[in-house]
């Protein structure tokens, strides 16, 4: 069983968590500008690397927060876990919204 470190609750057993797949996938700002192939790639295709992998986990039986994890898919070793930006992450929500607005422009 994996011992996963929740950024808020500390190390907990894997059974307390649920897996959220690859992290850092950005929704295209203008889906209509995409071809069907590009849209399908965004929706369904993931990197599935051998080695270092950035992924999302939810502390489902604990604080119920999403956070990021860097895990090696070969050794299962977890290099680090970190809070995502946004409300409750230690970073003001307003700043997060401004940052994403900035990116959109």
């Amino acid at each position: 069983m994996l011992l996963i470190e929740c950024p808020w609750c500390g190390p907990r057993a894997e059974t307390e968590f649920s897996y959220g797949g690859e992290a850092g996938i950005e929704r295209p700002t203008d889906p209509y500008a995409l071809s069907d192939e590009e849209w399908a790639d965004y929706l369904f295709f993931r990197r599935n690397p051998r080695g270092a992998h950035r992924e999302l986990w939810n502390h489902a039986q604990g604080c119920r927060r999403w956070f990021g994890v860097e895990r090696d898919t070969v050794s299962y070793r977890i290099e680090k876990s970190y809070r995502l930006s946004g409300a409750g992450s230690g970073r003001p929500a307003a700043a997060h919204i401004e940052a994403s607005e900035e990116k959109r422009r």
């Binding site: 808020w8 609750c9 907990r12 059974t15 604990g62 604080c63 119920r64 409300a87 409750g88």
Partner: protein, 225 residues
């Protein structure tokens, strides 16, 4: 063309009565939490003094869920003024000074109080926080509180929990949301021989039975409070 069987429509009264439905003959004057709560625990043969662990149900509890931004000092202050006590800012801790205020997440708390007070307290909190980005919800109907006391209390809980429950690691004032058996629960450490379990009502019957079974070798005393 193949015909598919049609599902038999649900017949009223055909299913067994569950512990979470109102008891027959319960009068309307009984408070909602009492009418819909699990049935009283069957009294055990073991008397309290000889028991190594005592399990009891606290049916007189009301619960409020409070969400606000902990970095909004004014909102925290407004909530604390109504509660008359500080809100825990450190993860997995609780404060106990009139009510129990449990940390549930970086912007979420559970307030446990006397059932009769919950609705009024919720109203007062909502009013005090009306100008802030905050939410107060009365979740009294959704939770049940169980008390596990005695020298073997932590030993019994450790049978179904992956965390180290030794008082050195799980000290008084700490609370954790974790799994007990197959249910998600909130565990809180009172003194070294007392643990509080707050569990969703729909899981309370399962947790109660799990506890009864786990506590059997420990001369368990099971009673309703």
């Amino acid at each position: 063309m193949r015909r598919y069987p049609v599902a038999t429509p649900f017949r009223h009264g055909s299913c067994r009565r569950s512990f979470t439905t109102p008891r027959e003959g319960a009068s309307m004057s009984e408070a909602g939490h009492a009418r819909f709560g699990p049935e009283p625990l069957p009294a055990s043969a073991e008397s309290a003094p000889s028991a190594r662990v005592a399990i009891s149900l606290r049916s007189d509890r009301g619960f409020l869920n409070l969400r606000l931004n902990p970095r909004d000092g004014q909102a925290v202050e407004a909530a604390e003024r109504i509660l008359g006590q500080s809100m825990p800012q450190a993860a997995n801790t609780f404060t106990n000074d009139g009510h129990e205020v449990y940390w549930l997440g970086p912007d979420e708390w559970l307030i446990a109080t006397v059932a009769e007070r919950a609705a009024a307290l919720g109203g007062e909190l909502a009013e005090a926080l009306s100008g802030f980005h905050a939410a107060v919800n009365d979740v009294s109907g959704g939770f049940v509180e169980l008390l596990v006391r005695g020298a073997d209390a932590r030993t019994v809980l450790a049978k179904g929990c992956t965390l180290d429950l030794h008082p050195r690691e799980f000290a008084p004032g700490q609370c954790v949301q974790t799994g007990l058996g197959r249910a998600a629960v909130l565990l809180a450490a009172g003194d070294p021989s007392t643990c509080t379990i707050v569990v969703r009502r729909s899981f309370s019957d399962y947790v109660r039975r799990w506890l009864e079974n786990a506590a059997r070798p420990h001369r368990a005393c099971i009673s309703a409070l």
